[in-house]
Amino acid sequence: MRGGVVIVAGEQAKSTAFELLAAPFPPRPLSAFTRSAFVVGKQNNAQPNWLGVGLAFSTSAALWALLVKQHNDDVMEYERRKQVRGHKCTGCS
């Protein structure tokens, strides 16, 4: 993607050359959001981006592993603290 300021049709059409040159680099992403063909290439959905696919699946697997591990840790910590508190009554669980 080229650097520099992107002109959104209409809104910044009246900006002077000085303002164009004086804009900070890199362009602020949200104020210059555009899907213009000058800055975005054509997607090729026919060929999978295998790196992206691999990263997505491995991140998902890591997230699930982290979730299950954290849940088991939470359960163990809760049981441990319950023991430490010395639950005395026998009416409830």
Partner: protein, 111 residues
């Protein structure tokens, strides 16, 4: 302020299958499907890796949020019961509780 203070670990953790996780996982999946729709791809069959990733992310975030919500509710309950304990005079019932039999008229069957 910590998202999950240490004392929150003394609470029973939410089950792995819980409403917040399921809902946010569903939201993540929907956003992947919407991304497919906006980019004119087949909605369900495209970007399975994206659907799985966003659903898993939503599920994980949902679990953390449910833990935080349960902590906030438990803290409020603790403060409420402490207040009640410290102000017993404000929370006494004036007399004994009336039984329903005393409120109703006597029953005389008409045969």
């Amino acid at each position: 302020m910590a998202f999950l203070p240490d004392e929150s670990r003394a609470l029973p953790p939410p089950p792995l299958l819980n409403k917040g996780s399921v809902w946010l996982g569903f939201v993540g999946w929907m956003s992947a499907l919407m991304d497919n729709a906006f980019n004119q791809r087949p909605i369900f069959r495209a970007g399975i890796h994206r659907q799985v990733l966003l659903a898993s992310l939503g599920y994980f975030v949902g679990y953390q949020l449910v833990k935080r919500a349960e902590y906030v509710h438990a803290k409020a309950d603790r403060e409420l019961f402490e207040y009640i304990r410290h102000h017993p005079l404000d929370f006494q019932s004036p007399t004994e509780k009336k039984r329903i039999g005393q409120l109703l008229e006597d029953f005389y069957p008409i045969r």
